[in-house]
Amino acid sequence: MSDPGSRPVFLERSGYRRRRLADAAFLLPILGIMLFAVPLLWPTSPPQQDAPQHAVTMSDAILYIFGVWVLLILLAALFGIRARQWALDSQEPGAR
């Protein structure tokens, strides 16, 4: 991240960080889709089949879903707060 040998110009550096953060914001919903699609891979247990040990328990499912949810909220909050700071730094809201 930081390179003591060459000191990059502050503006360029912050601009670069912004863009990467915006990239991350682009990827965030995709990450969300993928994580929320993971339960599709879990084995389901139709009532007829007697294989309870393979099925994922509901409590685990709840913990997983809410864990992903909280993670996504935290990442979105991180990005939102950073985006708010840019807007305060430069009087240009929503810089592209």
Binding site: P29, F36, L40, W42, M58, S59, D60, I73, A83, G94
Partner: protein, 887 residues
């Protein structure tokens, strides 16, 4: 059990609180002290109208029936909101820059302000949302009935009626109070935010009571969950994906969501907070759903409605306060949704259905003569009442039997049909109006056929159609299109309708060509971050500012209109209250009005005022075509006039030339007559002398006759020369081309020229060329050389005259110099020496002065030239010849 009457009182008290909150918020907004009301917090909370009574009550029932699948309803919006940076942000930016009033307005605006499309979206929304509203009425009556089990006074249908009436009154009071340019309703939004808090608190309170009060802690609850009948993961994969997607699509396309998210948005930066705060709200709302469902399944007797667990668990446990709070939460969910949905739908109906019809009925100048403002507000009030009535009727007809969740999903699937047109409009410039309309029609039709009609049943579709397809066509069965059976109805319908919707939308868009206005709007939408300026369409040179003012007053109210116009004047740097109707001002006004009555209507109204001088892009194009024609015509005229003046100049030049030639001819004639006259005079004189004198000696006679003869010869020579010259000049000379050595030609010329002269000039020939063979008219060339030599013979005044003829080569040309050792020609005469009748000195007049002129003409014919050679001691002429004469 809580008294039903107390509950009704609490409920009414709550409504009073809501009314006062909305009222205060409106007052604060009117006086400009609403800073905190415009905070991101209120914005985020107002989005919670997504969570209706369906999700408040229905989520628990849903979980009790099919496990975690209910959560997909929340996951979709979560994904949309955490991706706000590239989706919702653009929507909000466009909504703000174009002053969009509803989802129908946005679609219509994007596709060239087409009102047809707006009407279509409006109809779609009304059809999809009406069952949803009746669902809310049902949930209110259902929840009340939970309290009123043994109360004989309770009548569910009258409850539904009064609920509908009350909600309509609230929506009318706070949704149609004013006609703001921004179409923001601070009062409603604040009340909705308050309700959001109430429903969250209520659900959390019930959840906490269930987890820690009944189950005894988190681990115990988890154990109970695993032990329950929904204790294992058994979610249908296709439904999981489809409903998540559907919820995400509906979250963006639902008119009420669009209203709070885009139209009521005060600051784009609110999204930075809402982007994570709203998912957090959703997570909190769904946190206790499964525990409540599981505990309810355990606790309550078999067969009790799981949709009401949120109410019946506290009631069962004797917690009347908690039950009342829970009821208020459900009530809040239902009312906030109904109010905002009715408001949003009424804006769409009045802007896109009522106003255009009214405008077209009123004909010319309607926007000035009628009270548009009242008209709009009235139409909205009636629209709200009508929508509520529809919802109520649907509730009565359906009998309130269907499970809550299924109607919610059906509505979502219907409203999601807007998605292709919306997303295509935001991100694809190639999307066209025809494409969007066709896609919507296909999607809407398929949704009706595969989901809504079979879903609501009750004879809308005959049983035979459901079982065997229309007219017995097997592969057209509503639940098994194209013969694919066994799919879940929602998955089946959403997949086919949205897939075909999007396909038709893309295919038709690709194969049609958008109108200019459409392309303009498309560029503005897709590239909204690059430029937010609207197209300038008004040519306002004849627009009456006062008329505009009157119309604006009628729409927005006198004070607001005046403020608006004063601001416009101020922007133009004027002191008065009426600004100049510049295109910029008109465009500004149109957008402000669009905020009140929608883009298409505002466009039409300004068009009516500005009247004949209103210019659509199509008109502009026509004008451009005309002016292009005009320009072409004028450039043609210009070309013609240039040609004329060119011709005139040529004529003038020709005239001058003719005059010159005429003068030359006159001069020539006088010269000729003078030249002819001299010999004629002497011939006459001597012949008279011979005739009249008697005694003439033989010698005298001979001498006179000789003179006459000489003069006659001179005359003949002169005439010959003249004839020769005229032939040469007219270009009618025929050249007799032969090949021969130049030396021989020169030798012959020398001998001919010097024959018969008394003191022949000494001629010295110097040749520097190896090959003297030329192809030319050798006789004419000889004539030229003879002339040169005899000139030297005649005019060389040296004591020992000598002529040097030097032949050299210059490239493919041969140069013959005739240089004598005389005094030469004086410099001033050198230019004119080649002119006709030019003679250097009169005293040595030997010829007519035509020799050199003839030489020049001959040489021009032969591709050569003759010039005087400066810088020599004596007279010097240079003859330049080409080796080969090309004819």
């Amino acid at each position: 059990m809580a008294s039903f009457n107390v509950l009704v009182l609490v409920c009414l008290g709550y409504v009073v609180v809501l009314f006062s909150v909305a009222f205060v918020a409106d007052r604060l907004a009117a006086t400009g002290r609403d800073r905190w009301l415009r905070s991101p917090l209120i914005y985020t909370l107002s989005m919670s109208i997504y969570c209706t009574a369906w999700t408040f009550y229905g989520a628990v029932g849903y979980a009790a029936r099919s496990g975690l699948e209910f959560i997909t309803i929340y996951l979709g919006p979560t994904l949309v909101m955490i991706g706000w940076w590239w989706g919702v942000r653009k929507l909000v930016r466009i909504g703000r820059s174009q002053r969009v009033t509803s989802i129908a307005d946005l679609i219509s605006s994007r596709y060239g302000k087409s009102n047809t499309l707006a009407v279509f979206v409006t109809v779609l929304a009304v059809v999809a949302i009406t069952p949803y509203i009746s669902l809310q009425l049902q949930s209110i009556t259902l929840s009340l009935s939970a309290f009123a089990d043994e109360d004989s006074l309770y009548d569910s249908s009258s409850t539904a009626f009064w609920a509908a009436t009350g909600l309509a009154a609230f929506a009318i009071l706070f949704g149609t109070r004013n006609l703001d340019a921004n179409e923001r309703h601070q009062g409603v939004v604040t009340a909705v935010a308050l309700e959001a808090v109430v429903k969250l608190v209520a659900l959390l309170a019930v959840g906490i009571f269930v987890v820690w009060g009944l189950a005894g802690g988190v681990p115990q609850v988890l154990d109970r969950i695993d032990a329950s009948e929904i204790g294992q993961w058994q979610t249908h994969g296709a439904r999981w994906i489809t409903i998540t997607f559907l919820a995400a699509a509906a979250f963006v396309c639902l008119p009420r969501m669009f209203q709070v998210m885009v139209v009521e948005n005060d600051d784009e930066r609110h999204l930075q907070i809402a982007g994570w705060a709203f998912p957090l709200y959703l997570a909190a709302m769904s946190l206790f759903v499964v525990p409540i469902a599981v505990v309810g399944l355990e606790l309550l007797p078999e067969g009790s409605n799981p949709d009401l667990f949120v109410l019946t668990i506290p009631l069962q446990e004797g917690r009347d306060g908690l039950a009342a709070l829970s009821f208020l939460g459900g009530f809040s969910s239902a009312t906030s949704m109904v109010i905002v949905a009715a408001m949003a739908l009424s804006i769409m109906v009045s802007n896109h259905v009522v106003m255009p019809i009214w405008l077209s009925f009123r004909g010319d100048r309607a926007s000035v003569s009628g009270d548009v403002r009242n008209m709009v507000l009235m139409s909205r009030r009636f629209a709200i009442a009508g929508i509520m009535l529809l919802g109520y009727l649907y509730y009565r007809m359906s009998g309130g039997g269907a499970a809550l969740a299924s109607i919610g999903l059906i509505a979502f699937a219907g409203i999601a049909q807007i998605l292709p047109a919306l997303v295509g409009g935001l991100f694809w410039r190639g999307a066209t109006r025809v494409g969007a309309t066709s896609g919507l029609i296909v999607g809407f039709g398929l949704w009706l056929y595969t989901l809504l009609l079979p879903g609501i049943g009750n004879g809308f579709l005959p049983e035979t159609v459901l079982a065997y397809g229309p007219f017995g066509i097997h592969w057209l069965r509503p639940h098994a299109l194209f013969g694919i059976e066994g799919l879940d109805p929602i998955v089946h319908s959403v997949t086919w309708s949205l897939f075909l919707n999007a396909s038709v939308f893309c295919a038709v868009s690709v194969s049609t060509f958008p109108s200019p206005l459409e392309r303009l709007q498309g560029a503005q939408f897709v590239n909204v971050y690059d430029h937010s300026a609207a197209p300038r369409e008004w040519n306002a040179s004849f627009a009456q500012t006062e008329d505009l003012m009157i119309m604006t007053q009628r729409i927005m109210g006198a004070e607001q209109a005046q403020a608006l116009f004063e601001r416009g004047a101020e922007l133009q740097g004027q002191s008065g209250s009426l600004p100049e109707p510049t295109p910029v001002f008109l465009e500004f006004l149109e957008r402000e009005l669009a905020g009140s009555v929608g883009a298409a209507t505002a466009h039409a109204m300004i068009g009516q005022i500005v009247g004949r001088s209103s210019v659509s892009v199509a008109d502009l194009l026509a004008v451009a075509d005309e002016s292009a024609e005009l320009m072409e015509y004028s450039s043609r005229l210009e070309a013609q006039s240039a040609e004329l003046s060119r011709t005139a100049r040529q004529l003038r030049e020709a005239n001058e030339k003719l005059t010159q030639i005429s003068e030359q001819k006159d001069g020539f004639l006088s010269q000729v007559s003078h030249e002819l006259r001299t010999p004629m005079t002497s011939i006459r004189a001597f012949s008279e002398l011979m005739r009249d004198t008697e005694a003439l000696s033989e010698a005298e006679q001979k001498r006179f006759a000789a003179i006459i003869h000489d003069e006659a010869l001179r005359l003949t020579r002169l005439l010959d020369d003249l004839l020769d010259l005229s032939v040469l000049e007219s270009g009618k000379v025929t050249l007799n081309l032969r090949t021969g050595p130049l030396g021989e030609v020169l030798d012959q010329a020398v001998s001919t020229a010097l024959t018969g002269t008394e003191h022949p000039i000494r001629v010295r020939q110097v040749s520097h060329i190896a090959n003297g063979i030329i192809r030319s008219d050798l006789d004419r060339l000889t004539q030229v050389f003879i002339n040169m030599i005899s000139n030297a013979q005649k005019y060389c005044d040296a004591a020992d005259p000598e002529l040097r003829i030097e032949t050299t080569e210059q490239g493919d040309r041969i140069v013959v110099d005739f240089i004598d050792n005389g005094a030469g020609i004086p410099p001033e005469a050198r230019v004119s020496v080649f002119e006709k009748f030019a003679r250097v000195s009169t005293d040595k007049a030997g010829g007519a002065g035509l020799g050199l002129a003839i030489c020049r003409e001959i040489l021009q014919r032969l591709g050569g030239e003759v010039s005087y050679l400066d810088g020599q001691t004596g007279g010097a002429f240079r003859v330049t010849l080409s080796r080969e004469v090309s004819v």
